[in-house]
């Protein structure tokens, strides 16, 4: 089977597309070729939209970055994201700071602010979300990410649950379906965290 490694990278990637998530993780540890193939395949899988609702702000009165969001941030930072849509009714410095920190290091092409958010209309923060109304690029895949951690359910998530479900974006395009504690569901390229 060592001959597998002598295939053109393109062909190795073709095989990697069929590997399940645990297999992807294992292949990253085999050697540089398989690690690069996995990274290559996963890079080509991109999240088109991240919708962020009230999520952390309800449970995050300070500027601390919640653990689950830290993990999520780490997990998706390698993944190109077409749109980051912010939809939150809260507007205060803590929210802005947390959102900025969440966006920091992510590969987001366009940030967008939905009508429900006042930031774009608030002159003091207009520069934070200047892209309201921007036309969405053509979406190669419909992958929606909705992050909403409700205050009464915060303890229902463990970081590893969030990571397992969302961390490896290969999951998304593989149509992985696995409700975790009833609050994370991934199906047909859509992710709902609720």
């Amino acid at each position: 089977m060592v001959e597998f490694l002598y295939l053109p990278l393109e062909m190795i990637c073709e095989v990697v597309k069929f590997v399940d998530n645990n297999g992807l993780l294992a292949l990253r540890k085999v050697n540089r070729i398989t690690r690069d193939a996995v990274d290559n395949v996963c890079r080509s899988m991109q999240i088109q939209n991240i919708y962020v609702y009230d999520f952390v702000f309800v449970i995050c009165p300070t500027e601390d970055f919640p653990e689950a969001m830290k993990a999520l941030h780490g997990a998706i930072k390698r993944c190109p994201i077409d749109n980051f849509t912010f939809n939150c009714k809260y507007k205060n410095e803590a929210v802005i700071t947390i959102t900025d920190r969440f966006l920091d290091g992510l590969n987001v092409k366009k940030e967008r602010c939905l009508y429900a958010c006042d930031f774009s209309k608030d002159e003091s923060h207009a520069d934070k979300f200047p892209l309201e109304g921007m036309e969405l690029p053509k979406l190669r895949k419909k992958v929606y990410f909705k992050a909403r951690i409700r205050e009464d359910r915060n303890d229902a998530f463990s970081i590893s649950d969030v990571n397992r479900a969302l961390g490896f974006h290969a999951f998304l395009l593989n149509g992985f379906t696995d409700p975790v504690n009833g609050y994370i569901e991934i199906s047909d390229g859509n992710i709902t965290v609720d």
Partner: protein
């Protein structure tokens, strides 16, 4: 029954039923473009050279196409369902004897070259199934692949995969 002759890279001739060749995008394009379908022309008797496929591999490809005659051809990429594709028993048995040798890989490369989508899909899936439930070091050991990672690289990978531990 219309037969079309395929010629492998080692110059072996394989007369193949026309109907079977519809599974191969590459050959189908050639047949249509070169008018090989028209029995009234000399072109119909023209063999199709396949310089990238060896005889023993082409023989396996034809055997596979014969078994899958009439199957609907996979349309385009369907990455969404890759993880859920199940390799049918017949195909599993077909691939298995060659799985740990170069033969299966040559078959996969041929499927790609000949644009036989269903064969490529099942072949890739069969290979990917061999990784199931195994760790990186286990795969390395099974394949006889030396560990080329430096301790720094191993540490970096460990950190990157940390979320899953």
């Amino acid at each position: 029954m219309v037969l079309i002759t395929l010629v492998s890279s080692d110059e072996q001739n394989f007369p193949v039923e026309r109907e079977l060749l519809k599974q191969s995008g590459t050959i189908e394009t050639l047949i249509v473009n070169m008018n090989l379908d028209d029995e009234d022309t000399d072109a119909a008797a023209m063999p199709i050279p396949l310089p990238n496929v060896k005889g023993d591999v082409l023989e396996k490809v034809i055997q596979w196409m014969e078994h899958h005659k009439g199957d609907p051809v996979k349309e385009g990429d369907n990455e969404d369902n890759n993880a859920e594709i199940v390799v049918p028993q017949w195909d599993d048995d077909f691939f298995k004897p060659a799985m740990y040798g170069s033969k299966h890989l040559e078959l996969t490369v041929a499927a790609s070259y000949l644009d036989i989508k269903n064969l490529l899909t099942l072949s890739c899936k069969a290979i990917s199934n061999t990784f199931k439930g195994k760790t990186g070091p286990q795969i390395r050991e099974e394949w006889g692949v030396p560990n080329e990672f430096t301790p720094e690289e191993e540490e970096a990978i460990r950190k990157e995969n940390e979320w899953s531990e």
